[in-house]
């Protein structure tokens, strides 16, 4: 089902949706765009939030269950999972969700992930104006959504071309029918034109094989000396999904699942103190190997979606794409780090 939504009707559509379900949307804040619960804030569909949408499926910190001890017996309680509609997510983020589905869906499936995943509707916004850091085209993750979602929007100038792909998507459109106009063939042509332009605007030299090549020739120890071990690249990566489990509270408390990062020495350190990835350079190399060797083996897809967030957040002078120190430094002054 296709329809056209004039731009000025967007807040009304969100209003209508917000009455039925918690809508998470990219809003404009004083600290830049961020995905939060929408209650009328100004929407920012232009810039990509730094914290990826995947935090709503794999939270930074999640209580898997609460344990309560009474007279020597433990009882357990799972928390309610909120139903959410994730609005305005990018094709790269959607591709990351498709990857996480495959990773967490391997036997045995990760129930905590799928409880949230099942309660989530996805509304994607195709990228007609990719950011400077973006290279999704080279990794087949954008600028057009190709993975399953409920509803696809494309900004074609004075409004959005809406394409519902699932029953949920059709329900969303039907619920706000009064706001919509019929989609015209011209709309579809405009969509194709804009997305082709967006694809061409992105660097063409950042495909999976090119990054693998850069990995071959990278001086990992030199990069490791620049790295300040902040873990930021993992925390903003929509594909990074490593977590740590801990029980907090005695005798009552919670079993928590917290995000983790292979950039930390404690991640790979063994109980006796030995560490197979002793240096920061080795850990950085591992981060890339996971994305470009291990995840492809598991899922058949590269573990990077080309969103460029790691490049945006990295405080060190490391070019996260071509894995050099110097070239990042060259474009550093002109780089728009917002």
């Amino acid at each position: 089902m296709k329809a056209f939504l004039p731009k000025d009707q967007l807040p009304l559509l969100l209003d209508a949706l917000g009455e039925r379900i918690e809508v998470i949307a990219p809003v404009s804040t004083d600290a830049g765009p961020a995905f939060v619960t929408w209650h009328g804030q100004p929407i920012d569909l232009k810039d990509k939030p730094l914290s990826p949408i995947t935090e709503f499926l794999l939270p930074h910190k999640e209580a898997l269950f609460t344990y309560i001890q009474e007279a020597g017996r433990y009882t357990f309680k799972e928390e309610e999972i909120p139903s959410r509609l994730l609005f305005g997510i990018r094709p790269c983020d959607l591709h990351a969700i498709a990857l996480l589905d495959r990773i967490f869906g391997r036997e045995p499936p990760d129930q905590a992930y799928f409880r949230r995943r099942r309660a989530t509707a996805l509304v994607v916004q195709n990228c007609t104006s990719p950011g400077k850091e973006c290279f999704c085209a080279g990794l087949e993750a954008g600028p057009e959504a190709k993975d399953p979602c409920d509803l696809q929007l494309t900004d074609i100038g004075d409004g959005f071309l809406c394409q519902a792909e699932t029953p949920a998507g059709i329900l969303i459109l039907n619920a706000s029918r009064a706001l919509l106009q019929p989609a015209l063939p011209g709309h579809l042509q405009e969509r194709t034109k804009l997305l082709q332009k967006a694809r061409r605007a992105m660097p063409q030299d950042r495909s999976c094989s090119q990054i693998r090549q850069a990995m071959e020739s990278a001086d990992w120890e030199a990069l490791g000396r620049e790295c300040i071990s902040c873990g930021g690249c993992s925390f903003v990566c929509p594909v990074c999904h490593c977590f740590n489990i801990l029980d907090l509270g005695v005798p009552d408390g919670q079993r928590l699942r917290c995000r983790d990062s292979c950039m930390f020495s404690g991640f790979s350190r063994l109980t006796g103190g030995a560490n197979p990835r002793r240096t920061q350079g080795q850990r950085l190399r591992h981060w890339y190997q996971e994305k470009f060797d291990v995840i492809p083996q598991i899922t058949g897809l590269p573990g990077c979606v080309g969103c460029g967030r790691c490049h945006l957040t990295c405080p060190a002078a490391i070019n996260r794409v071509d894995l050099s120190v110097a070239s990042r430094l060259m474009d550093d002054s002109s780089e728009a780090r917002r």
């Binding site: 998470i24 804040t29 004083d30 600290a31 830049g32 765009p33 961020a34 995905f35 939060v36 619960t37 730094l50 914290s51 935090e55 709503f56 939270p59 930074h60 910190k61 999640e62 928390e79 909120p82 000396r225 620049e226 300040i228 071990s229 902040c230 873990g231 930021g232 925390f235 903003v236 740590n244 801990l246 907090l248 509270g249 408390g253 917290c258 995000r259 983790d260 990062s261 930390f264 020495s265 404690g266 103190g273 945006l312 957040t313 990295c314 405080p315 060190a316 002078a317 120190v325 110097a326 990042r328 430094l329 550093d332 002054s333 780090r337 917002r338």
Partner: protein, 677 residues
Amino acid sequence: MEKVISTCIYCGCGCGLLLHVDGGRIVGASPSLTHPMSRGSLCIKGWLAADFVGHPDRLRSPLIRQGDLLIKSTWDEALALTAASLRSIQKEFGPQALGILTSAKGTNEENYLLMKMARVALGTNNVDHVARLCHAPTVAALGFALGSGAMTGSISSLQSSDAILVVGSNTTEQHPLVASYILRARSRGAKLIVVDPRKTRLAELADLWLSPRQGTDVAWINCLLNIIVKQDLADMQFIKERTYGFVETLHTASAYTAEKAEEISGIPAADLVKAASIFGLAGRGAIVYAMGVTQHFRGTDIVQALANLALVTGNVGRVGTGVYPLRGHQNVQGACDMGALPNVLSGYQQVSSPQVRAKFAEAWGGQLPCEPGLTALEMLWAAESGSLKGLIIVGENPVLSYPHTSRVQKALNELEFLAVCDIFPTETTALADVVLPAACFAEKNGTFTSTERRVQRIRKAVDPPGEARAEMEWICDLTRRLGAIAEYSSPGDVMDEIASLTPIYGGISYERLGPEGLQWPCPTKDHPGTGILHASSFPHGRARLRPVLYLDPPETPDADYPFMLTTGRSMYHFHTGTMTRRTSLLDREVPTPFVEINPEDARLMDIRDGTKVRVETRRGSVSVEARLAEGVSKGDLFLPFHFSEAPANALTAQCLDPVSKIAELKVSAARLKKEAP
């Protein structure tokens, strides 16, 4: 899910971040993309800044001591007891028997209200905080030399420097975002000189690494100044037009030839000449320093020596130049600005000035004491000797963080009354008569002032746990119980009063504090704030050069104690670990205390990575695991002070800098023994 814009709680960088709130709980944090410091980046502690907030160990209700136990009570009981105890001490022994240690972790508003309470309600200037143990020498020396004891530029200005001299700062680990600006400058072609006895991560990336013997800084800094002037690299016009005291300073410095400085500091003379020419030739030179400079028994002299160097080379008041003290706590700058110091009121207005006292007395309604009070360590010594009887400690853990642990414990035990306010139980709350549960940074509104003088907001994201309250509430309540006036509707209201009494904060109000905050001095409501100080003149007209002489450190290695022990922080922990040891990923990085030793020394003693060793000084001993570290020079030991199971400060010397009263924390003679496995 809501995202609340706030400011990081850890180091003085003052990075902007978003707190992610879901279901009434904080589930994460991420950097602000627009903040001038963080710009989309954070360090590991910043990314995990909110992890401790909902920890089950949080203090949830006021506690009152009954015998050996701390018993749950109510706010009314706890504050009534506190007020009654303080009043009875005040009546019997006078106001000088009371004191307050405020918190560099607290907000500006809290520090202001606490120093107000000390002065008008308790009637004493005995108010101080942990700056005494970090940048008191900076406040004293830069205050004297430049007229303002704060960072002279903005951190982002570092990326425009041509040469950066980093002294006694493990910047990559302790102020990671500052390091990112330094590395940015280096990538532009700036020269980087790192001076540190340890080969830090930044030293590995430096153009020149100088490794002086601990405590010999005055010698090599004087030497650089001497060489720079001799080689005609000094900025004579700047010296002539904008400074006093050049002739005397040069006269003293000229005794420090490269050969003499090499003899004292161990830095090869050739390296000193090289460093002098790099710094002297740079069009824009910046000096960055931290605890390795200040935590010495002549800390004030070392800071003055650095200021001399900056002034003689004309490196003050322009982009890319300046003196950059890196402050350790996110609001240690603000706590100083607010007058949580024994000799000044807010904005560094002297308590000894009758006009200043009259101004505050009129605003506050009451009399102000005129004699400067005791500094932090002096208060503890007064407690030990019995002349200080009652103490309030807010958000500090002196049992671990102050030098000479056993003496601190003894002093606190001698007190008639001790109230401690904190967010977690600590080694210090364990000694208290009354414990007050505080709200942490994510549970209240207020402002912090970062190391670059940037005043910025923190915002309430969640409710405090249990009965815990924002400190402002109980401080005002207690102030009223003690008979003074404290009526404020909000932290913003307090800031308005601060602005009305504090010229450097004069134009600051909550309405004006946007995502970038405002850098003081900001004297009027339409003033944009000041990024770079001293651009055309110094507050007292001209800057003051002052000759400084090298003195041997109070302890040097000898036959009994052959090692030189220095203390400091790990990248993954903060201070006494109250917060970071409750952050699972940080605790996992460094779960146990350790001492770093040079591999060659270790080999001679048959010590391997992980060997249990005992580190002893004349004051005490701790048992820790050895860690072999190439970066530690032969004969040196490095011990972090985060760990209550191996308190580094059981070992530290307590000899004080005569000017700033900072303790000698970086140099202790020590010995090492292998422990039975």
